[in-house]
Amino acid sequence: MTLMKSGIIGRASGLIFLAAILFSCKKESYTLLDPAGAGIWSHYTTGLPGNQVRGITLDHQGLMWVAFSGAGIASYDGDSFTPYNISNSQILSNGVTCLDVRTNGDLYIGTTDGISVRTTDGSWLYYQDPVNILYIYAIKCKANGTVVAGTSGYGFLTYDGTNIYQYYDVSYKNVKAIEEDISGNTWLGTDNGLFKWTGSGFTHYTTANGLPTNNITSLLYDSKSRLWIGGYGGTAVAWIDAGGQLHTQSLFTGSADLYMKDIYEDQRGHIWFATWYDGLIEFDGVVPHSYKVYNGFPENDVNAAGQDKDGNMWFGLYSMGLERYTIPIQ
């Protein structure tokens, strides 16, 4: 009898114990990504309106826009590319040089003959100089809604939503790169050094201040409040920290003259450098990793870098279309 009693208690306690454990077993279910699809390179040429890519940007609807030299632009919805050119749209020119998205969602497109705008409702606007042919080198849509466009030979233009202003001085007549820092200052990369424009005055940086070159061709303000400065010439890239101090970073290319075409930061904080001659360089904060023809990259001339809505990296090549890279798991 005592044995039976003990046995019942023992079995009952075991059942309660198991029930308590099973009670705590509830978990949610998720759709998970396959890690085998990460860290993969894919090459895109078919379906593109051209093979010479000049710029990549992502709009507020999740469309990735790609600028093509001599072939207009194309949007990518994650599945296919839709081209826009002078034949099927009101874009000013097929010679697209750069593009960016304004805070209101409008797409600003720099061309070899002025600025085209594709609004969010699909209509087209444009700006051309009444006298001169405006070759737009760079476009930056600032956080306050102001659009800044750098030109070849005519300084830079700003558009605040109402008025267009032109800023010109012989020292910054060719504006090749534009970036905004966290304080709203505008940084201008020119063939005569780097300019910081506060809206009321300019600060000029040159090789005398430690820049590797005075021919500044690309800028990036990253998530760590560093302004990366790429140019044509010199053996390294430079960056200015939040305190205004200038640093240089070797990219281990061995080149006597780096030619930086674009700089981009991914969601991990890795900095990507698109160069001519030295391929693509990924800097993880410690060591630069080089992607060139010798290790499987399609070509050594890279014009642009950007991301799609899924976080995949896209690289625009000089003559061979696009290269996609899914971020690897680390």
């Binding site: 044995l3 308590a20 705590s24 077993c25 978990k27 998720y30 990504l33 281990f252 006597a256």
Partner: protein, 362 residues
């Protein structure tokens, strides 16, 4: 809710000794000497009523090979990145009755895994070549979580066969967030010539409660015994940990961390072993082990990636020696045969087991 679950589990475990005091089981015949020296093929899977078993072990593991996702084997020794691990464990079991036991165990792990050295070359303006070797070491060091469990076995009176069901939980008492890396720069020759030594640190805790369930069946046929065991460790919920980002500024490392979520993989293990009682004091055995993981994920850059599903099949010859009525020694060797997405460690495990009846009167 979390506290309630812990309380329920703890209360049940604490209640078991009280039930033991209230129960008056039929006593297993024999004196202490007889009970403690019963050979493996005649012994139940649980300790006897009142028996306290204290086990302490050490496992020396050599990671000399790994298996990729397709099951292809890579010799880490040939790559020069074989590593060793030290694993210490303690286990306490107590027989509340002849068919009910409670158990607690804990471990300590120290291991290091090296990656292949990568060299970066850059021509310098002077016409020479700068070299940056990059070494990488992942070190895991620390206590594992405390596992508390209870087990019931059937039949109540030991026959030639025995069935045991165990249930418990790893309580997240051990450190699990990775400490700040210890990476360094050495051999600084010039701005572009130095050595990068990545040194990532990890801890051994799970960070979340993990359920532990196992079922074991044993059948003896004269001197031969067959044992089969199924074990599953399943996390109760997802956890949050840290991922360190390293940057090199002016040849000094700086570190910053970002949180990420994870769900531990469910681990299952199936063991099937054959034992031969060569002598009253000596049991020879051979175990086949299938280890698998599934359903885990890790958050990275805001997305959830499923963890690779690992698998390892090993053969484990072993012996059990009754050294004295109080002491047994277990020796097991692990020989990895095949696997997927996993290291295949060769290891030797030695366990000393002390058995006694501290309170029971015969």
């Amino acid at each position: 809710m979390k506290i309630y679950r812990y309380f329920t589990l703890s209360a049940l475990l604490l209640a078991l000794p009280v039930m033991h005091l209230c129960s008056q089981d039929k006593q297993v015949s024999g004196d202490k000497f007889t009970l403690l020296t019963i050979p493996f093929n005649q012994r139940p899977l649980n300790p006897y009523k009142g028996q306290l078993q204290l086990s302490a072990g050490y496992e020396f593991a050599v990671r000399s090979q790994s298996f990729d996702a397709d099951g292809n084997k890579t010799s880490l020794k040939d790559l020069g990145i074989a590593s060793i691990g030290h694993y210490y464990f303690m286990d306490v079991r107590y027989g509340i009755t002849d068919f009910l036991e409670i158990e607690a165990n804990m471990n300590y792990l120290k291991s290091g895994t090296r990656s292949e050295t990568v060299y970066y070359y850059a021509s310098n303006p002077l016409g020479g070549t700068d070299i940056v070797p990059v070494y990488s070491l992942d070190e895991t060091k620390g206590f594992g979580d405390l596992c508390l469990s209870g087990a019931v076995r059937l039949p109540f009176d030991y026959k030639w066969f025995d069935v045991r069901i165990s249930a418990g939980c790893f309580l997240p008492v051990a450190r699990y967030k990775p400490p700040v890396p210890s990476s360094t720069i050495t051999d600084i020759m010039s701005a572009n010539s130095y050595t990068v030594n990545y040194h990532n640190n990890f801890k051994n805790g799970y960070g979340v409660p993990v359920l532990h369930l196992s079922a074991t069946a044993k059948a003896s046929f004269s001197k031969f015994t067959m044992v089969a065991c199924y074990t599953v460790d399943d996390p109760v919920k997802e956890g949050t940990s840290l991922r360190w980002t390293q940057a090199l500024e002016n040849q000094n490392f700086t570190f910053s961390s970002t949180p990420y979520k994870y769900l531990l993989a469910r681990k299952t293990e199936i063991d099937a072993s054959v034992h031969y009682q060569a002598a009253g004091w000596l049991d020879l055995n051979l175990n086949a082990c299938l280890f698998r993981t599934a359903k885990g994920w890790t958050e990275y850059i805001g997305k959830k990636f499923s963890d690779p599903e690992q698998q390892l099949i090993s053969l484990q010859p072993g012996i059990e020696i009754q050294v004295s009525p109080l002491v047994r020694i277990y020796e097991v060797v692990n020989l990895p045969l095949s696997g997927k997405d996993i290291y295949g460690p060769f290891y030797v495990s030695t366990t000393f087991s002390f058995n006694l009846f501290p309170v029971r009167k015969f």
